[in-house]
Amino acid sequence: MKRYSARVEVWLRPGIADPESATIERALPALGFDDVGELRAGRAFCFVVDAPDEAAAKSRADELAHRLLANPVIEDATVNVDMAAAVPAVSPQGRELASQSVGQSVGQQDRAR
């Protein structure tokens, strides 16, 4: 088994009313961002999948994305899977921690294999 990192983005489908994005966009001019438009708010999910190969990891991540993370009635999901050794970081602080631990966990994985 190898460990893959997956990133799922969930977006409202085109044509579905999106009051959250519209509200954020309306606030932009007041903050001096008159040059910004077409803003869309979505959600991102990061996780790791243990699988024999990348295709299997992608398939599992797809399944999770479409069964739970996105509601197919109103949302689409994009799923990306990479060979990785650490959980993708979610904050600058977290990123540092993650990059520090990459080497260690690669080493651990190599030993496990």
Binding site: I16, A17, N71
Partner: protein
Amino acid sequence: MTARIGVVVFPGTNCEHDTALAIERAGGSAELRWHADAHVGDVDAVVLPGGFAHGDYLRAGAIARFSPVMGAVSRFAAEGGTVIGICNGFQVLTEAGLLPGALMKNRGLRFVCKPVAVKVTSSRAALCAQVPVGTELTMPVNHFMGAYVCDDETLGALTDRGQVVLRYVENPNGSLDDIAGVSNEQGNVVGLMPHPERASDPLLGSTDGLVLLRSLVAAVGDGALGVADVTGPAAAIS
């Protein structure tokens, strides 16, 4: 026979006692059911009450759908059993695929908490079987994700088959086609955003919710499952 109605409690559900009390006021007998139990027991109907099941994390109802009890609720519904989802319960039923469509954030991103008038638009389901179409009822809504959406094809089918059971008189949340409540194709699963249990005592400002709950209790009380036959015993009880 008194209708036995199971009221499902998820972690974060908060309307179960109000709902149970209102069901008893409407002449039924209410029994709480814990979400982690993979059965609903010997009941004539199941109600998923309002609240914030599993904290509404991810999306309202998204996690509740995977609670062990939901397999039992799905089987109960598949066998024709009457299932009612109120507010968060409605969201759970759409997430579980027991009802079409989805509930999204309200228009204007406003949390709406006020009494609203709704019209009964179909008598197909047990909840409305005894209530003449066109009856106007006032009940509180209390939600952030109450805007009903579905695709055009689904909306056409809902309308043609009489699956829209309640419509807002004045749309409070941007719900598609003023939809406040829908049923499944068979009519035995119904979800609604207004809270009938919060309109079940004069002290609460309205007893209109009892009209729906009495209809439910009467329709399922004689052991009949599923869609009430309005010409049958259910109609005679009132």
